[in-house]
Subunit: 510 residues, 2 copies
């Protein structure tokens, strides 16, 4: 891990913006040890301090909004309006997790009172809650420089759980990372938390991230990014002397199914919505619909032509970085082997890293021989797969691997049986089913699930968006026959925190 | 994977009992495919059928109790009274999970109603529940031939979650496995479940287990056993093209701390309890206390002598198998290098596989140079570690790795500050803290946690005992703007299942 510097680049022009120094091995060690010290001292243990940190960070990010959006837009090429919205989401996420911590139910307190008559052995007093797992390494995402980076969902949920966080910032937006980290750092200090509660490490290469995953003090990893990088982190963490969980969200093709009924009744509106979902933010969203199943025939052909025409009429998208653009060009060239190119798909003229939105077509039945059709193409690219009939469609869907989302446009009143079959097959492969809508634009709520079976993520049991994301960074501890004085408040008689608890099997607030 | 046969052996005599044929590759494939078919068809999806299966299996196991206990006692050398108690626990576990499924709260239903005014984007209708992960491979444990084998806690919780189960039976008790599987199979058929809902594979070697973990259809692994085997399964599952979670409970040394106060006031009673906890079931329990921290000095010496005398006076224990006995003898010989042998510790005279309960002593400070002192010795062996003072004790405890349990005997009124410090350090390394008691005898309740940081388990976030064990085998799915007709009952308006749900952030049964 040599000392190296790297530059941020404006993808709209291709010009370098500023130079940043990569963290050195000592920086990694220092950050990790400080995080471990904070954890050992229980420094994030007090809910009140975590609430102050989360609310404080949200307020400070909003206050620094103009600076953040200006820096970030230059580094990512993303429009200011999008970044303003993302900043609001980021602040809102932090505040939403603060409310979760305030309410306190996330410790999932369970109390079983003693029962000397229990069979086969007398039952002691057992009380359980969820405690922080330990220091968490968070990897910033390229495509959400705010909502899934330094102060994004992984960081917010880990801090809410009570875990110190060490962020590895994404090298595509180091200036953004620095400003956001500055504000979070001040908020942590103002909340009275130790310095180890939060740290940012910047780096141009992969060595800092590797050192972070290898550090024995790190207890879990949060990641959003490519399959290749996510899998590499997962493998590395699994090979440690003491393996740790990696919560890697690695994207997917987010299949959309159009039924004949929906196509007939609402084809034009769906085409409009689909174009926006594919093209917004240069298609650089984990939930971008990459594959759309369309009925074969005239109506389907017209729909495909409609969307291809709309995409072809869009301005080329400025992608996040040269590497993003080159990766997409290569991915799309691969698609040329197995599918028909309808529009776009090349590096576009003009300065910076531009790409013309693209549409391709193949047959759903081709998935049998060409599984690569289902690879994610990260950018404004959509592949239409035409199906002959219900059986052809369902057979093709059985070939689809783990997905973050799957969407269905159907006419429930007329196509109830088909819809039921689609829900059965899709719910076994996707983390979220969207009906008569599009998967992009993930609401941050209690019920949201942003996850799914591998390869969408490395941990199908959890979500990285929404309030239950906190559960990734907690582990249960049971107290058996504990004196009242050593019990956490959440488990004491009289319920001093006023939280929901399961007592002798029944949920109660008493 | 050649066709081979293997024999069960009576460890009390060393004589072979009966011969069993190892499953062939085709048997593995058939079982896994049937499980996948059952999952695909949603065969375990109806809670009512799962309740019937779990209750039915419990009733059938009780009815077959005499046969099971007789076969099992001959194969394991465990006393009939212990096995009767374990059978009751096994049946009770199945029934307790049936009640969880009946109540229905385990799907953790969450509903967020739409909010067109939400910022930064309008909020759709999002409803989330936990669904079955898919077919689960369960590895039977040698030391709990009933409660953690074919119809044990892993199987019960996976079936309760709605996952088909393929069990790899432990080769030390194939006759027991066969009888239990027969009863579970009948219960599954009587509950109207497809044949793939449950299967047992027997094998003498490791190839069947490896094939099971490799099978693409398997979605998760439950395991209880040694560190070596658990880690091997974890590594194998992590190296799959599509990695899957391995919930491996690999035991630990379950440290006990005696404070000077407790030693002075209750030394004799603690010595009696400790002897029973070390010696019961030949010490072959995951929660057996393997290491006890004792104040240096006269009172501590007397306590150690008392326990060593009691253990020395016990009959040699019949261990589960020749391999168990040989492994323990080797482990204890390793201990001789770094600790003083006080009593026992060798293969004992007499037929079969006997071992004389053993006690060792070293200094807590020795852990700095001899981390091997903290290796698990699976059998009736205890190591006393003497500490000079509070700092010596706490420094030694910082060297202790992940544990299933940690126990403290203290006098809270006089030693409040010390107790607080002990809870702080122990709660960061153990899954369960026991106060003034012993960790053996794990109550199966809602609040129980039987888990802990690595190397106690490969999944610190979860428990393998107690009602929340079901969460290991579930994953979230969100439904966005779904038509009422395709929503699972748990998520429909009007709450037809009458379960607790979080609606717009608040728990309610309405």
């Amino acid at each position: 891990m040599a000392t190296t510097s790297f530059a941020s680049v404006d993808p709209r022009t291709g010009e370098a913006l500023a130079s940043y120094e990569s963290a050195r091995p000592d920086d990694v060690r220092h950050a990790v040890e400080a995080a471990a010290d904070a954890h050992r001292a229980g420094g994030l243990g007090e809910p009140e301090a975590r609430v102050a940190l989360l609310d404080g960070a949200a307020a400070r990010l909003r206050a620094a909004g103009d600076e953040i959006v200006t820096v970030c837009s230059a580094e990512t090429g993303l429009p200011e309006a999008r970044l303003q919205s993302e900043l609001e989401r980021t602040a809102g996420q932090l505040e939403a997790f603060a409310r979760v911590v305030s309410a306190g139910d996330h410790v999932e307190a369970i109390i079983d009172l003693p029962d000397p008559e229990a069979k086969p052995i007398p039952r002691p007093d057992v009380r359980r809650l969820l405690v922080p797992l330990g220091p968490v390494a968070v990897f910033g995402a390229s495509n959400f420089p705010l909502a899934f980076s330094v102060a994004g969902g992984d960081t917010a949920s880990a801090l809410a759980a009570g875990c110190p966080v060490v962020v590895k910032g994404h090298p595509f937006h180091p200036g953004t990372s620095a400003v956001v980290a500055r504000e979070v750092g001040v908020a942590a200090a103002e909340a009275g938390l130790p310095a180890g509660a939060f740290a940012l490490l910047q780096a141009g290469g992969i060595e800092v991230g590797e050192a972070l995953v290898d550090a024995p003090e790190i207890a879990a990893v949060g990641f959003t990014g490519s399959y290749r990088a996510g899998r590499a982190l997962y493998d590395r963490a699994a090979a440690r002397p003491a393996p740790i969980p990696v919560y890697a969200e690695m994207g997917s093709v987010n299949p959309i199914v159009l039924t004949p009924g929906a196509l007939a009744v609402r084809g034009a509106a769906i085409a409009e919505g689909l174009t926006a979902s594919v093209g917004t933010s240069g298609g650089q969203l984990c939930t971008k619909p990459g594959v759309v199943f369309i009925p074969a025939g005239e109506a389907g052909d017209a729909f495909v032509a409609d969307v291809a025409g709309r995409l072809g009429g869009m301005d080329p998208a400025v992608l996040l970085a040269e590497k993003t653009r080159d990766g997409l060009v290569a991915g799309v060239e691969g698609l040329d082997r197995d599918a028909e190119r309808l529009t776009g798909g090349g590096a576009a003229d003009g300065p910076g890293f531009r790409f013309a939105p693209a549409a391709f077509r193949a047959r759903a039945a081709d998935l049998a021989d060409e599984p690569d059709l289902l690879e994610e193409r990260f950018g404004p690219v959509v592949l239409f797969l035409t199906y002959a009939d219900r059986d052809d469609l369902l057979a093709a869907l059985e070939r689809v691997g783990g997905q973050l989302t799957a969407s269905v446009h159907a006419q429930p009143a007329q196509e109830g049986e088909l819809l039921e079959a689609l829900v059965a097959v899709l719910s076994q492969r996707a983390g979220r089913l969207v009906f008569d809508g599009f998967p992009t634009g993930v609401a941050v709520t209690f019920a949201m699930n942003h996850g799914g079976p591998f390869p969408a993520t490395t941990a199908a049991g959890h979500t990285s968006v929404g309030m239950t994301a906190i559960r990734r960074f907690q582990r249960p501890v049971a107290f058996q026959d504990a004196p009242e004085a050593v019990l956490p408040l959440a488990l004491r008689d009289g319920n001093p925190r006023g939280i929901w608890r399961r007592v002798n099997g029944e949920l109660t607030r008493d």
